[in-house]
């Protein structure tokens, strides 16, 4: 990659943020999705409704939460409900337009594994498991996924179906009676991928500035497909970068500092 005045990680977060609209209701996974959703809120989508599975609805944190239940999520929320209510009325109720997930292991059809590497009963690595993701994946209007590319993450075949994307592609969701759209967008540190409307596999629609097709394939475990009308992702604007960097700086000051700095 050529030398740029932003990092691939910044480009990823900003490209992901751009996918969100002002009237979206977004169920936010922790980590990369949380950064993207809050950058969207702090830039072009000030009225976006962000929901975390801890029960906080319409939250507007000043710094990124370390956990999905940080106190500031509640303090800035429109309302905070119990976790059973969150999963029943709000997620299962069909009120969420976008579920934004990360992935430890991902295939070309947007199926996600965050449970185990290896065999379930005798795992090589026991990961945290699904948490809210299995039902986020089926109940939200559509699913955006964001993760850094690597051969360990983007694999031909995932070890465990924690969250169902498009299965083996095509009409796999319909066959299971799932009525929501499923994964429709993948934003990595190298590219933006859309979902092919028929095969339902991810197809690169734009490369981030300075990224080559070889870069993408070298960090992806499946044979990469490209859209016919490929674009270059517009680089971050000065404002987008400022919003993201200010947010990260505030977050670092709040979470990373000495204990005495953290007292409110």
């Amino acid at each position: 990659m050529s030398k740029l005045d932003f990092t691939p990680d910044e480009m990823m977060t900003i490209a992901a943020a751009r996918a969100l609209k002002n009237d979206d209701v977004c169920f936010v996974g922790i980590g990369a999705p949380s950064a993207a959703c809050n950058v969207a809120r702090l830039s072009h989508a000030p009225d976006i409704t962000l929901i975390y599975e801890s029960g906080t609805i319409g939250t507007a944190p000043d710094v990124l939460p370390l956990s999905i239940g940080d106190g500031e999520l509640c303090e800035t929320a429109v309302t905070t409900v119990s976790v059973p209510e969150m999963f029943r009325y709000w997620l299962q109720g069909g009120r969420v337009t976008i579920g934004f997930l990360g992935a430890a292991q991902l295939d070309r059809f947007g199926n996600i594994n965050t449970t185990v590497i290896g065999d379930y009963d005798h795992p090589k690595t026991r990961m945290p498991g699904g948490g809210g993701a299995p039902e986020i994946a089926s109940s939200c209007g559509e699913i955006f996924i964001t993760c850094k590319q690597s051969l360990r993450t983007m694999v031909e075949k995932i070890d465990f179906f924690t969250s169902f994307g498009h299965g083996d592609g095509g009409d796999a969701r319909e066959k299971l009676g799932i009525t929501t759209k499923g994964p429709s967008l993948l934003i990595t540190d190298l590219a933006v991928w859309n979902t092919d409307p028929v095969s339902k596999e991810f197809v690169v629609s734009s490369l981030h500035p300075g990224v080559s097709r070889e870069d993408v394939q070298a960090t992806c475990g499946w044979a990469v497909r490209y859209a016919d009308d490929m674009d270059v992702t517009p680089p971050p604007t000065a404002n987008e970068l400022k919003v993201l960097r200010d947010l990260k700086a505030r977050t670092k000051a709040a979470h990373g500092g000495a204990k005495k700095e953290k007292a409110a």
């Binding site: 999963f87 179906f161 953290k262």
Partner: protein
């Protein structure tokens, strides 16, 4: 009617070896002081349940007190994996543990069903998810009106639930505010319950009529234990000690370091230490 006792009395009066136990708290208000007292008292062969087993369950598992764990997300929130749980699941150290794994929706609905006195919960879940294959407690029911097949899980009914809350009043009513998680459900679903609280006040006259309150007759024992949720937090009292969560990743990475830490900070400590631990974290709010 709730009785006010010391944490030591509450644990010994309510918990038995082999019990099914929930120490609930969703990031917020995690009853760490109670977990540490249970470890000190030597209780073992426990079946633990919780949506989000975090450091508390990593400690119980690492100390060999856990026979089985029912859960939906076994991570160090915002940090990564739980290394003691990994060691138990991957290597059987210090003992094999049985696991029963659900999604958050599954666990939350199962507690709700427990609180509601139902034998099972119904929800739209696990569609295409492989947990159905490995967990025989994920079944289905058919809607008698539409024919839709929905997920069913058995209700969760702990022998004992431990929670931490902000306040009790003199009558033993308990107030939980902020991120309330599934604590109300976990208490109502349980046969017995122990609540540690930041503060005991005269009455709740100034409390919102629809606040999350557990009447005293639904709670078994209450212990006044300021700081009892450290390193998690208590909305209105102190903030989350994120540094401790980050440090745990290193402490728990090594068996001997973990054991030394538990010896010093849990086995040789007393419940009163928690008030000191949060002194630096106290929030102006």
């Amino acid at each position: 009617m709730a009785n006010f006792v010391s944490l030591s009395e509450a644990v010994s009066a309510n918990l038995n070896d082999g019990d099914t136990v929930a120490f609930e708290g969703f990031t917020h208000l995690i009853p760490y002081a109670a977990v540490h007292e249970v470890i000190r008292q030597g209780h073992t062969d426990l079946t633990l349940m919780r949506l989000t087993p975090d450091l508390a369950y990593d400690q119980l598992v690492g100390m060999g007190r856990v026979k089985k764990m029912i859960f939906s997300y076994v991570g160090n929130p915002g940090v990564g994996l739980l290394r003691r749980v990994r060691d138990a699941v991957e290597n059987g150290w210090p003992r094999q543990i049985e696991i029963e794994e659900h999604s958050h929706a599954g666990m939350a609905n199962a507690y709700e069903a427990g609180a509601a006195g139902l034998p099972f919960a119904v929800f739209r879940g696990y569609l295409g998810a492989e947990l159905k294959r490995v967990n025989p407690n994920i079944r289905s029911v058919t809607c008698p009106f539409t024919g839709e097949e929905l997920a069913a899980v058995p209700a969760l009914r702990p022998d004992v639930t431990f929670i931490h809350a902000q306040k009790a009043n003199r009558r033993g009513d308990v107030l939980i505010e902020g991120i309330v998680g599934v604590q109300k459900e976990a208490v109502l679903a349980a046969k017995r319950s122990v609540v540690t609280v930041e503060e005991v006040v005269e009455d709740f006259d100034d409390v919102h009529p629809n606040a999350c309150v557990l009447p005293g007759w639904t709670v078994t024992s209450i212990c006044h234990l300021p700081g009892g949720a450290h390193p998690s937090y208590a909305h209105g009292y102190y903030i989350r000690d994120n540094a401790t969560y980050l440090e745990w990743d290193g402490i728990s990475a090594d068996r001997e370091r973990f054991q030394a830490w538990m010896q010093e900070h849990v086995l040789e400590a007393k419940p009163e230490i928690f008030a000191k631990r949060v002194a630096e974290m106290e929030s102006a709010a």
